[in-house]
Symmetry: C2
Subunit: 412 residues, 2 copies
């Protein structure tokens, strides 16, 4: 039988009633003739509660213990979903990550999936089981310890299973009915996109659109997984949701597809860094080793042999970054005068494949922000996006102004 992967996010399984509704959708696909692999998140609020426990217990936590704690929410949902399906006479059972096993790297709290053997689950399908419910977000390291894939990791679990089992489609059920031009909570003019290119989705996800985890889109692109994002609170239909697909499957599109943002950013500046070959590696190597997700990097012009190095990372990684840089200085690997952290910034980006063939897009963005009196602190650009770091308090204003300026409320 053909295999379908269905993934349900935290709000879609946020109560027993919602689990029941999700199970009915699964039952319909079983009735349609699919063997279904269901990937579940923790019930909404659970993971935040567990992360809160860990952070309160140990600010610089051992990521292996963090993973052991925060992975438990998904196990609960997986068991409850299997029981719900059994009550509906759909043969089902649950799997935890280590039982499949979902083999990952040892990079705790942000591990990558390396292998998903399919024999175990396929054998059960051949025995008549119709639904394998798998706890998302988690795996097992080569050392036999539990790993997690980072926030939103259940999306990646879903796409990885779709690839490993050559599923016909991977449906991501969430609390939004698709991918929008920007966050509808910030502007009511936000519009749902019917289709979006993998590349655009990648930029939107990594920049904070929060609909799909970046790595899940990368994986989908690499293995050409048909990926659909849709709401678990709407009636099913063929037009439901947004299809994430290859660029060539999109006929018409706006120059800018969407405006993304990331609220909890921090800007760190190292002053009077010695300007020598290898200095960037000496700074960002230790940060990478400490698990700091460095995003934007700007290096100023050298002045008397020293330079200022500015980078951004999530606010909750600032402490770790400071510790890693202090250690590197103590070990005489780098030298700098001061480490200045600005934890009150946010990132706003415009994204669109159309930018490649249209000039003046960045200029229009900067002019729009200037007209609103918003100061730009850092700029980075790529082929299909322009990102700026601004004071956090202007974030909503910036998103609204850019959405208007690029007329994203109108379809192409």
């Amino acid at each position: 039988m053909p295999i379908l992967v269905m993934k349900f996010g935290g709000t879609s399984v946020g109560s027993l009633d919602r689990i029941h509704r999700a199970a009915k959708r699964i039952g319909r696909e079983v009735a349609n003739g699919y063997d279904v692999i269901v990937i579940v998140s923790a019930m909404s609020g659970e993971t935040n509660k567990l992360v809160g426990y860990v952070e309160e217990t140990s600010p610089l936590f051992d990521a292996r213990e963090y993973d052991a704690v925060v992975s438990s929410g998904e196990n609960v949902t997986a068991g409850l979903m299997a029981l719900t399906l059994q009550e509906m006479d759909v043969p089902a059972r649950s799997w935890q990550g280590w039982q499949v096993p979902v083999r990952t790297t040892s990079a705790h709290a942000s591990a990558r999936i390396e292998e998903i053997p399919s024999d175990n689950i396929l054998a059960k399908f051949s025995e008549g089981m119709r639904v394998a419910v798998v706890a998302g977000f988690q795996g097992i390291s080569p050392e036999g310890r539990i790993t997690t894939l980072g926030r939103g990791g259940s999306d990646t679990t879903a796409v990885a299973f779709a690839a490993a089992f050559e599923a016909e489609r991977c449906d991501i059920y969430t609390d939004v009915d698709g991918v929008y031009t920007t966050d509808p909570r910030i502007t009511a003019k936000a519009r749902k996109l019917d289709r979006i290119a993998f590349e655009e989705m990648l930029e939107l996800a990594s920049l904070g659109a929060k609909v799909l985890q970046t790595r899940s889109v990368e994986l989908a692109m690499r293995y050409n997984v048909k990926l659909r994002v849709l709401s678990s609170f709407e009636e099913p239909s063929d037009e439901a949701g947004t299809l994430v697909c290859a660029e060539e499957d999109i006929v018409e599109s706006n120059v800018v597809a969407g405006v993304a943002y990331s609220r909890e950013e921090a800007k760190l500046t190292l002053t009077h860094v010695e300007d020598r070959p290898g200095i960037a590696a000496a700074i960002f190597g230790p940060l990478a080793d400490a698990g700091v997700n460095v995003d934007m990097i700007v290096q100023n012009i050298s002045d008397a042999g020293t330079t200022d190095m500015t980078f951004s990372c999530p606010v909750n990684e600032v402490k770790r970054a400071e510790k890693a840089l202090a250690a590197a200085r103590e070990a005489n690997e780098i030298g700098f005068a001061e480490l200045i952290a600005d934890t009150e910034v946010a990132k706003v980006s415009i994204v669109g494949i159309g930018m490649r063939s249209h000039a003046g897009v960045a200029a229009k963005m900067f002019k729009t922000l200037r007209d609103e009196g918003i100061n730009i602190k850092v700029i980075t650009t790529s082929e299909i996006k322009v990102s700026v770091l601004i004071d956090r308090k202007y974030m909503e204003l910036a998103v609204q102004a850019l959405h208007d300026a690029f007329e994203l409320d109108k379809a192409a």
Copy 2:
């Protein structure tokens, strides 16, 4: 270094603050020179919440999924405890049941521990780790699925580890400061026992004293584990708690050591059962297969080739019992006229090794109940206990009256 096992129950780890207090106790034992194996329960309320989810989802649940769900609470505490110890600079890490691995039978929801390999944890001790935090109550079946040991199973986990690692002592930290002559919530005259024999503790535990799981005491007796029950809310001292020990270590004792009760009992009667050899096996075999914990059994005198068979079991297993018996009747394995369930009964028992050498103890019990106007529905006796089934509404009254009659408020 000598090994100590310390077990903390749900209320002893019911908040981050309490986990911190427990960690300080562990730290003291590490400072005393012990390598410590800590067994933790779920934070208080968590397991009940999860059991509630399962029962609401599926009244006749698949016990394998039940285990996958309800075992998750212990994993959270284990990780948090390891993190708390690390914050106090005590080298520690967590283990989930399948990681040790705690090998159990496949009897889901009430599995028995079969083997605990010690090499994994001992290797870490030899590398300098001082505390192994193990999630209690759980293990792994030969099929690779998660099992749980039944309510209070973390006590059994603790004693099994103490036996497997030849620990110097097994300290069970709980929310009571020892074993009492009866439940202090029922009578203020209840008195703490300094020592109690394994055999007495077994009867008290299995009859609902709720301080230690029965199997943990059985195991401690078999492997001669020094078992101490004490409160995690009192200052440590040598006199703290109750030592559960061999009979010969107790010099003076009352005839009756304690009065136990079990509130949520049900009495089931099969009427007009065919009275033939093998009928008991035909009835209680299917009940055992269905996981019904049958306790008291009474068979009436045969009347015209048929008899009435009465037994008791926990109230929440009545549905399962009814289903199993109906199936056995349908399969023509047994015949009966009616199945009458009385779900409003409780069990009250007096327990004491001294009964062996004292006559008239049972008679005194029956007289005491008669004087209070309490009707006895079923009686069973053993060498060191007498149990009766009575209307649930008289349970507290019966316990108080028996505690007075046997003068349990006074030490021997």
